[in-house]
Symmetry: C2
Subunit: 148 residues, 2 copies
Amino acid sequence: MHDDAARMYFRFFNEIGIIGQLSRALFEARLPDGLLVSHFSVVNHLVRLGDGRTPLNIAQAFQVPKTTMTHTLSILEKHGFVEMVPNPDDGRSKLVKLTDAGRAFQGEAIERLGPDMLTMSEEIPAKRIAEIVPLLEEVRQYLDANRP
Amino acid sequence: MHDDAARMYFRFFNEIGIIGQLSRALFEARLPDGLLVSHFSVVNHLVRLGDGRTPLNIAQAFQVPKTTMTHTLSILEKHGFVEMVPNPDDGRSKLVKLTDAGRAFQGEAIERLGPDMLTMSEEIPAKRIAEIVPLLEEVRQYLDANRP
DNA sequence: TGATTGTAGTGCGATATCGTACTATATGAT
DNA sequence: ATCATATAGTACGATATCGCACTACAATCA
């Protein structure tokens, strides 16, 4: 491993970290007060991939401890975006159901991001983004498969 | 803005977020107990770009509120990695000085990451990473310049 | 069946991050 | 010089995230 190579990985992960932070801040500025990306992400996940999942299943999808997901889901429940129902197949567990308010929240949040993405696309076309997404997916899969 | 373009940006930021989370977890597994990436990052910043900076300057470099940096620096001070000294040019402010222990901490943390990067470079060569870093920098600069 | 082991979710405590408000000092206008 | 405004740092409270430990239920095995 050359120093140059090591430095390149450092730069890469550094940029990833900063972009993650900046995009999160941008996104949260478009969400209703008090709601965070971590809240939206779960609702978005349920809308896209289907609800009726267990908290543990969702926690694993987001790579967060189940205690964190318990907390996040309690917030979503407080906002009326999801409902927790008993799992008929397993008395220990619950199923997370989206409500109409939850679906509306997801749709509105995405709509609010439209103008930002439009503006960004004028400076950095989606075509250029599309060129690097595959490698990012590869890196993500590698890291996912090699978790400590 | 086509839906396809919007979806591409979503995928991009989604991958960024996940990679950020996974790489943070990986890195923190290599740090001494109780120390987080947020701690290392500040020490690393001071080693690379020079110490004797003010807390506010560092906070802005990391795009975090100054209250967060106050807290982070207090942790680093508790570990003996930095010292806070009065700023001779401004009675309101302080300067952050690295200690020998701080430099050692940074060097050891980087060394510990070496094997991980070596392993990763076997699957995803640094050359491929190098090809996309410039665009990531562009995105980062764009987001930085268009903060809400 | 009963005992053991494993799993889903939660309660609790610790730390990180952030927003608001405050203090002390600096800057600029008059 | 004085006053108004701006800035650096901190105190404090709120929320997010996480690890540990516990409970309830499930699965397995004797």
